[in-house]
Structure formats: C-alpha cells, structure tokens
C-alpha cells in the first residue's frame, strides 16, 4: 500500500494551498484531484482580495483578470452607493481567472514538493491503528493510500467530511443557489456591481464582476427557502431588467457556471481523528458576500502548517488536531459567525428598507472597508437596523 504523511482531497484553492504548506513543512504530501484538469469547472464570481493574494505570496499575474477600482451597491429602486467614496482606504483586490489561478496554486503545491495526482477520485476513508486509509480510483482503478492526516478540500458536498463523521449538513437557509454567465461585449466598467434586494435575487444579490475589455461574470445567488423559482430564471430576468438590458443586449455568453455557496457560517469544528476540513468543505465562506477564496486559503495555510507541526509526534487524533480549529476560528471563524447573524437580518429586510439604507449610506464617509465596517456604517443610518444588528456589532 502507498504511504504518505498527508493526503489532500481536492485541488481547488484550499486543497492546493493546504498541500503546498504541508509539503513546505516537511510532510510527504499527496494531492488527489478527481478531475482531469485543475481549475475546471469554475463555480465562482472570481473576486479576490489583495490580502488573500498576499497570504499566498503572489501578486498580479496571468491569474488576475482585472484590478477592481470600485464596488458599487445598487438598491432595489436603483439608488447607487460607490463604496470607493465612502470607505477610508479602498482596496478590494482583483477579479481572477480562476482556471489559471487554480492551476498556479497547484503548481506552487508541486513546487513545494507535493505529489499531484489527477483523475484520482477519493471513494472512502477508514481508520486503523491511529492512521487513515484513503481509498481512491485512479482512472477507475482502485488504489489505497495509508496516511497520518487527511485534509478534506472536496468542496460544498464534501464526502471526506461525511466519511469522517463531521456534521456538514446545510439547511435551506444555509446555501446560496448560484448561477452565472461569463459574458463578452457588454457594457461594464472596472467596478464590481452588487444589486441587493428580493426584486433581483431573493435572499442574496445579483452581481457583475468585471474581467476587462467588455467581459464580466454576471450572476446571482438566491436562498432556496425564500426564492420562488430556480436561480437561472432570476438571472435571465436580471438581463432583461428595464434599467440594465441595454448593457447586455449586444453581449454573448461564453460560459455558464452554477453551484451551491455555503453561507451557513463555518462548521463548529473542522477536525476529526486524522482529518481536517478546509475551504467550502468546512464552510469557510463569508456568509454575507459568499466570498470564500481569501478565508479558505487562510485556513488551508493554517491546516498545512498544523500538519507539519504534529508530524513529529505520533498523535493524529481529533484532540491533537484541535489546534487547527483554534487557529482558523481565531483567523476567520468568530468573524464569520458574527456575519451569519447579519445574514439573518438581511433576509428579513424589505426592498424599501434597503432603498432607505442605501440613500442614507451615500452621505457617510470614512467607513472601514470590510463587511463588518460596512454593516456598522449602514446601521448608523437606521435605529431599527442598529437594533437588529446589535448582536453583530458588539
């Protein structure tokens, strides 16, 4: 049987980053990817913060499509807020080319010494004598690898989590049903546009993420519990919106992307005996924005380093791996759990209330540029909102 120190399942940004830092910490690391290509299919609006790229130690490159110069929020009645005007130091980051970005992160894992294995689909997990055995199929042929640690980076429908006995269940309020068209020859600027309100996307928002030269990701996410129709119908309606249709009328769609975005807030614990979960599998996603690359790679880096730290001992139990929980919860967990409460408030807000907030928000300046800072500023415009968000803002 093959042997490894660390087996990572899934070569998305979280998996490749975990593999990279585990290998860099001296672990004999294997990265299993079920598909024939890293970076495919894309299920993402492709926005990434500058901070996330810094965390990865990379800057602009072939993997960045466009630097974002502004984030515009658009209320149901069309009131716009240019966050660049309101915030202290605007620095959103970039819109990525995920297909190139993911491959580059895979390369960084390989450069660090991880063994990349494509067309390798994990099929099961068992434990024996303090070790884990991962079964997988390589081009359909059954294989097994015995390992000290398994890092599950297998996305929103994580099987590693289920096999390990970690409760990863998502309810109908816990997922955004997402759909997106990558379009060309449309009227877009170098700014991200976020259209909030039930009239666009019940429970979520519609977005335009620019990729330069008249190309953009145009999509939306809806919360299944409050949406009355499939997400794609809301998107097709969005493209026909009387105030927006002229911007899309000469456009063409070059890719259709769909996926579920976990907005439950992160798992209470992302570890089990011999197992750590990272990224979408651990629900390490901002529950307000649905953005997950930054938080996922931050947590994955922690997981990779923790693997390196515990390797010297002979204890890969849940208890031994709990330092991963401690660190990622401190890094993003506590913050995201706060934001979950704000998401529940957002689900209750009526479109008229969003209009009111947007109008008042236009006059505010010196806002801290992060989700919580923006929520704090918004709540200062409305005593009712301030009351509703009191638990979030403490």
């Amino acid at each position: 049987m093959e042997e490894a120190d660390v087996v990572v399942v899934g070569a998305g940004p979280a998996g490749s980053t975990a593999a990279r830092f585990a290998a860099e910490s001296g672990c004999n690391t294997v990265l299993l990817e079920k598909r024939a290509e890293i970076g495919e299919p894309v299920q993402c609006a492709e926005g990434v913060s500058s901070k996330a790229l810094e965390e990865l130690g990379i800057g602009e490159g072939r993997w960045t499509a466009k630097r974002v110069e502004n984030v515009k929020l658009i209320s149901p009645s069309g009131i716009t807020v240019d966050l660049k005007q309101n915030v202290r130091a605007f620095d959103f980051g970039y819109v990525l080319e995920r297909k190139i970005f993911d491959k580059h992160l895979g390369r960084l894992a390989a450069d660090a010494g991880a063994e990349l294995k494509l067309c390798c689909k994990a099929t099961g997990l068992s434990r024996n004598d303090g070790r884990a055995i991962v079964s997988y199929e390589e081009f359909g042929d059954p294989r097994e690898v015995r390992t000290k640690i398994v890092i599950g980076a297998d996305g929103v429908m994580s099987k590693v989590g289920r096999w390990a006995g970690i409760d990863t269940h998502l309810g109908p309020n816990d997922i955004e049903s997402g759909i997106e068209y990558e379009m060309v020859d449309i009227d877009v600027r170098d700014e991200i546009e976020m259209f909030v309100g039930a009239c666009y996307a019940p429970g979520g928002y519609a977005w335009i993420f620019p990729k330069g030269d008249g190309r953009a990701n145009v999509g939306l996410g809806v919360i299944p519990r409050v949406a009355r129709r499939p997400a794609i119908e809301y998107l097709d309606e969005f493209l026909q919106h009387p105030k927006l249709a002229h911007r899309f009328k000469d456009g063409a769609t070059i890719e259709v992307k769909a996926g579920g975005i976990p907005v439950s807030g992160p798992l209470k614990s992302a570890v089990a005996d011999n197992v750590m979960l990272v990224g979408d599998a651990a629900r390490q996603v901002n529950p307000i924005t649905g953005g997950g690359i930054g938080s996922s790679v931050t947590c994955a880096k922690i997981a990779g380093r923790v693997a390196g730290e515990v390797m010297a001992g002979n204890d890969f139990s849940r208890k031994s791996l709990a330092i991963y929980d401690d660190r990622w919860i401190e890094a993003i967990g506590n913050y995201h759990w706060k934001l979950v409460k704000a998401k529940d408030v957002y689900l209750e807000l009526k479109d008229e209330e969003l209009d009111h907030i947007a109008k008042a928000f236009r006059t505010i300046s010196d806002v801290e540029f992060n989700t919580l800072g923006i929520l704090r500023a918004m709540s200062s415009t409305s005593p009712k909102l301030l009351w509703k968000l009191r638990k979030v803002l403490v």
């Binding site: 079920k34 299919p41 429908m157 299944p224 519990r225 129709r229 794609i232 996926g259 579920g260």
Partner: protein, 64 residues
C-alpha cells in the same frame, strides 16, 4: 421522489450538498439518485440553480 433532468443538469452538486440523507451523488458525468434514501423534503428541487430537478409522483417511480 424526484426526477433529475440530465440535459439541464450541470453537475454542480448543489442538490447533493443540501441533501440530508445523502440520496444524491454527483460526479463529473454521472448523477445517481437513491430513491430509497430520499425523505421527500424536496430541498434539492428548490436549490437546483438550473431548475433541473422536479418532484415526481410515487406512482411513477416503478416505471423508472
């Protein structure tokens, strides 16, 4: 019971992610629905971004 329209399905896995009973298994090409596990909550029907999943009457199940 549900019916998955494979021509509409993009294999995104959103349905599998919300299925409490693990009744749906999605891979790159295949979609496997295990009716014996399904508890008829129909969250998957509401979650599918493409509207590819429909409720199916019990009586129709036998016909596949």
């Amino acid at each position: 019971m549900i019916q998955i329209n494979l021509d509409k399905c993009l294999r995104c896995g959103a349905c599998a992610a919300v299925c409490e009973k693990n009744a749906i298994d999605i891979s790159e090409f295949n979609v496997i629905y295990d009716a014996s596990r399904c508890n008829r909550c129909y969250i998957c029907v509401k979650t599918c971004p493409l509207g590819a999943i429909a409720k199916r009457r019990e009586a129709e199940v036998g016909g596949g």
